[in-house]
Symmetry: C2
Subunit: 247 residues, 2 copies
DNA sequence: GAGTGGTCTAGACCACCGT
DNA sequence: CGGTGGTCTAGACCACTCC
């Protein structure tokens, strides 16, 4: 176990103090030089830690005035942060589950083949599942990956778990994904899987997941029941924007 | 005009070199000490600049190996970056326009009142518009704000423009917004505005925009025609995530 | 003007990747 | 092993806010 960097240790200490209520919402933190001295670290390291907490939305810095404890709750249903379907379900406060899991080798549909940059019709491993929230069927999903990455028998070994952990174990950790979102209505197959009428409102997410090197590892298509889920996105204001955190 | 910080100047110089093709996709940048020396800046400042470009998705750092030029195109339809409806329309390659703009004072619907933290029914300034993409009606929208911020006559002065610029001019620059996304079908009113059949598929975005202090300034409800728009979201991988950029 | 966060520097050492 | 990016420090000065 490698020891986390100092900034993360500091951030964790501060986070505890924030969440424990020692520092109430709206309260102003001690000044950076003061805090740094009292924690026995350099001001730079403290600032790096504060940057982490600010990125998490726990703190807000105001030039010339101070650093304040934010009083806004975290988004529990933030699309850009919650990756796994089970996390999305858990975020609604319900119990995630899986049923009707089936794996197979199937020819790749055009969009999936395009994402992997292989010829259409190439045989890929597929995992089809219905996800449940407190036993109600709420998400119909399919996951594709290359056979040499996960073959169907490996896929079936993790019906109930997340694919991500299994990929990470192979050194293929998912670094990011791009999700395309569109409103749809249930076709007969999805309607049957979810046990809802044909034409029911769905939110469909087509997602392409890649490693840090940009290699496409996993493609998924998820149909969410519209009346169960709430999706939020945090949008940064006009002007320049950043996607990931720096130092 | 205040001079931008050194990191931004460096970032701009590097960005030019990246976009001009002087450094091809996949190319490795000179090492940090080398680059810093050749630019005549400290390594820290250079790293801060690189962090900005990495956040923009132009560069990718790989510990122990080097810093590389990314070869992935920017998302043009990124929900977390494109704020204004007209930007979303422009991102599809079409010509944005506005018709049927009307302003009024109206009692706040419950969700809007909740966002502003005022009693339901409070009179608010409202701007209702239909947005067009190359003359086709594609978005039906409503924007609410407090009367003391923008009254109806001020609102009507900017039918064709963005509200954001006007708010910024009052010192109420929008810092961030939280959008809730849901699939819907057109009711009779929206169907009439967009000249589509009742029941047409829509993607509805309910957004609350705030200043850096967290004051709610603008609330909007936008109905996008599902078959015209493609929305993408960049999702960071499992593990820790950050929302905004630090140093 | 006093105090706050924001930027920049110079130098050191560490963790990781490749050969 | 050498070279890369990652972390940390100490100190200086700047820009902004508030009294």
């Amino acid at each position: 176990m490698t020891t986390p960097s100092l900034r993360h240790q500091i951030a964790d200490r501060l986070r505890e103090r924030l969440l424990s209520g020692e520092l109430n919402a709206g309260a102003r933190l001690p000044s950076e030089p003061t805090l740094a001295r009292s924690l026995g670290v350099s001001r730079s390291s403290l600032r790096a830690a504060i940057a982490l907490l600010e990125a998490d939305g726990l703190l807000r810095r105001q030039h010339g005035s101070g650093t304040y404890v934010t009083d806004y709750p975290q988004l529990r249903d933030d699309l850009s942060r919650n990756f796994a379907v089970s996390e999305m379900i858990a975020a609604t406060g319900l119990q995630p589950g899986t049923i009707d899991a089936r794996t197979s080798m199937e020819p790749a549909p055009p969009e999936v083949a395009a994402a992997f940059d292989v010829p259409p019709g190439t045989l890929l491993s597929v995992l089809r599942r219905v996800r449940t929230a407190s036993r109600r069927r709420v998400v119909d999903s399919a996951d594709w990956c290359l056979e040499e990455v996960l073959d169907p028998s490996e896929l079936s070994a993790l019906h109930d778990g997340s694919i991500y952990a299994s990929l990470a174990a192979q050194g293929l950790a998912i670094h990011h994904g791009v999700a395309k979102i569109s409103p749809t209505v249930a076709d007969s197959e999805t309607a049957r899987h979810l046990e809802v009428p044909v034409g029911s409102l769905l939110l469909t997410v087509f997602q392409v997941d890649s490693t840090v090197l940009g290699e496409v590892v996993l493609v998924s298509l998820e149909h969410y029941l519209a009346d169960v889920f709430q999706f939020s996105v945090y949008r940064r204001g006009p002007g320049q924007g950043a996607r990931s955190s720096g130092e």
